[in-house]
C-alpha cells in the first residue's frame, strides 16, 4: 500500500467554549477528488484552515508523505504544495489580477525587484491555456465579478501546480454560467496536473459530479467516508438529511 499524501490524526480544535473539531482522522491519497460536505458549522472550513497552516494543529498531527509536519503559516503549506481557494477568496482588491496571481511568489531579480513583464507574460500564457479573456489581466480585482474573482483564485493554484488543492465553497453565489465555467476549469486542472482536490461544500448537487469520494462532517466530526462507487446521489442526500 502506498503512503498516503496527507494524513490527519486526532485533530481537535477549540475556540473558547466552542468545539470546532473533535478527534478528526482523515487520509487523503494522490489524485483523489474528495467532496468534503456537511451543513454550515460542521467544521469543514476549520479542518481546511488547519491543513493549510492558517490554524494550529495541536492537539493532533498532520503528516505529508508519512512525515509529521507543522506549518508555521499558509506560506509554509504552499511551499509543501498545499493550496486553498478560500470562500472569501483571499484576494486583494487594490491589486491587479496579475499581482494577485503572483502575490507572495513574485518573479524577481536577486535584489527583490519584480519582473513585471515576465509576470504578465506568464499570466497571459496561463489565461490563454485556460481560455480566460486576456483583458482581465490588468484590471484591479475590485472591478472583477464574483465569477471572475473565483477564476483568478483558481488560476493561481493552476499556475503553481498545487499538489493538494482545497476549494472552500467555490460555487457559492455564482451564476449558472459561471458555475459551469469554474467546474470546467476544475476538471481541466484535475486532468492536466493529476492533483488532489478537496472540494468543500454544503451543497451535494454541486460536488457530486466532480468528486469520486465523499467525506461527510457533522458537529466537528467525520460521520461518513465513502467512495462514489459505493453510494448513489439519492442515498448520500438522504444520509445528509438525516444527520
Amino acid at each position: 500500500m502506498t503512503t498516503p499524501f496527507l494524513e490527519i490524526r486526532d485533530l481537535s480544535v477549540q475556540f473558547g467554549a466552542v468545539t470546532a473539531l473533535t478527534n478528526v482522522n482523515l487520509v487523503i491519497r494522490e489524485c483523489e477528488t474528495i467532496g468534503l460536505i456537511g451543513s454550515n458549522g460542521a467544521g469543514k472550513t476549520t479542518l481546511t484552515k488547519c491543513v493549510v497552516g492558517a490554524l494550529p494543529t495541536e492537539p493532533g498531527s498532520v503528516l505529508i508523505d508519512g512525515h509529521p509536519v507543522t506549518f508555521s503559516g499558509p506560506g509554509a503549506a504552499r511551499s509543501a504544495g498545499i493550496e486553498c481557494v478560500f470562500q472569501t477568496q483571499a484576494l486583494v482588491d487594490d491589486l491587479s489580477v496579475v499581482q494577485n496571481i503572483f502575490l507572495g511568489r513574485e518573479l524577481c531579480n536577486s535584489l527583490g525587484f519584480m519582473n513585471a513583464r515576465a509576470m504578465r507574460q506568464e499570466a497571459r500564457k496561463l489565461f490563454a491555456q485556460l481560455g480566460i479573456p486576456e483583458e482581465l489581466l490588468d484590471r484591479e480585482l475590485r472591478y472583477c465579478s464574483g465569477g471572475e474573482r473565483q477564476i483568478v483564485a483558481l488560476s493561481k493554484a493552476f499556475y503553481f501546480k498545487a499538489r493538494l488543492l482545497f476549494l472552500d465553497e467555490p460555487l457559492t453565489a455564482l451564476s449558472v454560467q459561471k458555475k459551469h465555467a469554474v467546474l470546467e476549469l476544475l476538471q481541466k486542472f484535475k486532468d492536466d496536473h493529476r492533483s488532489t482536490i478537496v472540494m468543500i461544500s454544503h451543497d451535494l448537487s454541486e460536488t457530486y459530479a466532480l468528486c469520486d469520494r465523499f467525506v461527510v462532517m457533522n458537529r466537528g466530526s467525520i460521520v461518513r467516508d465513502v467512495q462514489k462507487s459505493e453510494i448513489s446521489f439519492a442515498e448520500l442526500e438522504q444520509f445528509m438529511r438525516g444527520i
Partner: protein, 321 residues
Amino acid sequence: MALGQNRRRIILFLLENSVWMLLVCTYGLFAVLRPESMMKPSLIADTAYSNVPLGLLSLAEALVLLSGSFDLSIGQIAGLSAAVGATVAQAESVPTWLLVLVPPCVGALCGLINAFLVCGIGLNAFLVTLGTFLVFDGMQLIINHDVVIDLPGAYTMLGESRALSIGFFLVCLVSVHAIMQLSKWGLRFRAAGSNPAAAFLMGIAPRRYQAAAFIGSGFFAGLAGLAFTGYSASYSPEVADDSVFMAFAGAVLAGISLTGGKGRISNLIPGVLLLSVISTGLTVLAVDPYLRRVLFGVLVLAAIAIDSCKERVKDRALVRE
C-alpha cells in the same frame, strides 16, 4: 471595446494624478489674485525648499497609512529626534559624520516603540500613538527645552543647503516609491495594508510589514527633525509642533488612502507642494493667521472628502456591467 478600455485608462490616469491638476489650478488661482508675488521665478524652488521637512513628515505618515494604520506621534518623534541630535551635536567629542545619524536613529527607535505596542502587543494604533505623542513630547522638553543656535555646520548642512535639502528629499521619495511599486516587499506591504486577512492566507505576515512601516516612519520623522533644525540653523523646542495634521493633510492630498494599501508615494510631491502653495497664497493675500488655521482644517476635511469621492467616481467609471 477598445474605446471603452481607452476611456477607462484615461479616467484612471486623471484620477491617479488629480492632485497635480489641483496643484496647477490652485497655483493658477493665486497667480491671478496676486501675480506680482506668485509669479516670481524663484517661488517654486523657495516653496519646495521651505517644505522639505514637511515633505519628510508626510512621507513618514504616508508609510503608516499605506500599512493600514495611523500615527499621531510623528511630529513629536521629529521634535524628540531634533532635541537629542542638538544635544549630542553640542558635545565636541562626537565625530561630525555620526551627528547626522543621531536624529533618524532616534526616530527609528521611537517607531520601534510604536511598532512593539501596536504590532507586538496588538493595541489600537490611534490610542498608542496618542500616548506616545505625549511621552515623546515630554521627553523632548526634558532633554532640551532651550533654543540651541551653536550647531556644527555639518549637522545643519542638510537643511541649510537648498540643493542638498531638495535633492535629499527627492532621493528619499524616489527610493521609497521604487520599493513600493517595483519590489516584492512593496507589493506585499500594500497587500498587507489593503487586506491583512487575505495577505495572511497568502503567506504574508501583515504585522511584520506594519511594524516596518512604524519603524520607517520614525526614521523619516527623525530626518524631518534634522531638516527642521538645518532649515532654521537652530534647534527650538517648538520644532514640528502641530505638524502631524499638516503631514496627514499632505499624505491624503497625495491620494494615500485612509483605508490602507492604496496610493503612490510619488504623489507626495504635488501633495506637499499644494499645501505650500496654499500656505504661500494665504500669506500673500494677508489672510488673518487664525483664519488660516481654520482654512487648513477645512482643507484637511476637503482632502478626505475628495479621497472618498475619487473612489466613487472610479467605481462608477470602471465597474463592469
